[in-house]
């Protein structure tokens, strides 16, 4: 499984791809990209214990969200599903990184 940081970066890249392909972009997507950049910077600066169940759950959710968003790039009908998974992953990662 990729690191949480790598999955955050992958998810950002995929969501940006979707944002740039849809005009106007869904507001939820724009907001999520903003939140993910916050998480990315926080993650880079924070010492995290990656051996906890909480970390693994967040990293797995983020990795799933990144995979689903990649599928949504080629099938825009799946964007809503990708946004839903991203929201769940953001919530879990924010808890670990204590981002409000």
């Amino acid at each position: 499984m990729p690191t949480l940081g790598q999955s955050i970066a992958n998810l950002i890249r995929n969501l940006e791809h979707i944002r740039d392909a849809r005009y106007p972009p869904p507001q939820a997507l724009v907001h999520q990209i903003d939140q993910l950049y916050d998480l990315a910077v926080k993650y880079a600066a924070t010492q995290i214990n990656d051996a906890t169940a909480q970390y693994n759950a967040a990293a797995q959710a983020m990795s799933d969200a990144a995979d689903r968003s990649l599928a949504a790039i080629n099938d825009l009908a799946r964007v809503a599903e990708a946004i839903k998974l991203a929201a769940k992953a953001i919530t879990l990662a924010a808890k670990i990184l204590a981002v409000v």
Partner: protein, 319 residues
């Protein structure tokens, strides 16, 4: 001829014969000047990247959601604050001083210039060490200036080159790796960013402790995250029904963010290549002073990478 003069001339010939050969001198000079230039260019780049971050954050404050961004607590230089950038500038100053000291020793310079550059070298590394390296390395270099004699014949210069290269091999390798991490682009190779310091193979015994710790926001990582956020905010404004002046500002911000993302990509590629080549050439230099054979190819590759980096930084500065 007076026997004393004959003896002195013979001794001078013997000593100069044991100095660096013209090819070795050229190679040390090539390594040294490339290091000094990479150091100077990188220091300037850090300052410029921080300035770009301040401007991008200002744009984001203007475009962002006023409910989310409080102008009174907003940090314009986040995440490239003054302290982390100062730390890195000290590190590249040390690399620059290393290059300059070797350059003086490989060149025709005599005692005054050499002593001055050796003093600069020790003080630059001490300053960088306080920020980035273990204090053990300061001690190994402390007697360097004192040990350099007043008059440099070629033989002494060669010994001084060997001493400097040996004393600074580990700190140079470590600083170069820390800087290499700073130039990793956002989203590329998270493992490499988090991996503990690994010395170059010939420097396997290098001790390492960084007060930075294992986690830190790399300079390009931070830079590109700010640019990415700004692009997102600008795209959001432009896709809505914002008034003309806000759309105008968003257009300028989108252009700035896009350019800076391109810039980050180019700087990351160029600097990463130059710093990897620096570490390889530095390790080669350490081996060279050990077995008296300079590895020309490593130094040539490093000088070429440094030249390429400087050229790309020059192009980016004019954009």
């Amino acid at each position: 001829m007076n026997p004393a003069i004959r003896l002195a001339a013979g001794a001078a010939l013997l000593l100069s014969g044991c100095g660096l050969s013209p090819v070795q001198k050229d190679q040390v000079a090539a390594f040294a000047s490339a290091t000094a230039q990479v150091g100077a260019a990188t220091a300037a780049q850090f300052t410029q990247l921080r300035q770009d971050v301040v401007e991008m954050n200002a744009d984001e404050l203007a475009l962002g959601d006023p409910r989310q961004l409080n102008p009174y607590t907003f940090r314009f230089d986040e995440p490239l604050g003054a302290e982390p950038i100062t730390r890195r500038v000290l590190a590249v100053n040390a690399l620059q001083a290393y290059g300059e000291a070797l350059d003086k020793l490989a060149g025709a310079d005599q005692s005054a210039g050499i002593r001055q550059s050796a003093t600069d070298l020790v003080s630059s590394f001490n300053a960088a060490a306080a920020a980035d390296l273990t204090s053990a390395q300061q001690a190994s270099a402390a007697d360097l200036v004192a040990s350099l004699g007043g008059f440099f014949v070629e033989y002494q210069k060669k010994r001084a080159v060997a001493k400097i290269v040996r004393s600074y091999a580990c700190p140079v390798d470590q600083l170069a790796q820390l800087l290499e991490r700073d130039f990793l682009n956002f989203g590329t190779d998270d493992d490499a960013r988090l991996r503990p310091y690994q010395p170059s193979p010939v420097l396997a015994g290098c001790p390492f402790h960084s007060p930075r710790g294992d986690r830190a926001v790399g300079v390009l990582y931070g830079y590109e995250s700010v640019a990415g956020r700004l692009k997102n905010a600008a795209a959001n404004v432009l896709s809505g029904n914002a008034p003309f002046d806000k759309r105008q500002r968003a257009t300028a911000a989108l252009l700035r963010a896009t350019r800076n993302l391109d810039k980050g990509q180019a700087v990351g590629e160029g600097a990463g290549k130059a710093l990897r080549a620096l570490r390889k050439a530095n390790a080669g230099l350490v081996q060279s002073v050990g077995d008296d054979q300079l590895r020309v190819e490593d130094i040539k590759a490093y000088a070429a990478a440094a030249k390429q980096l400087l050229a790309s930084l020059k192009v980016l500065a004019n954009r």
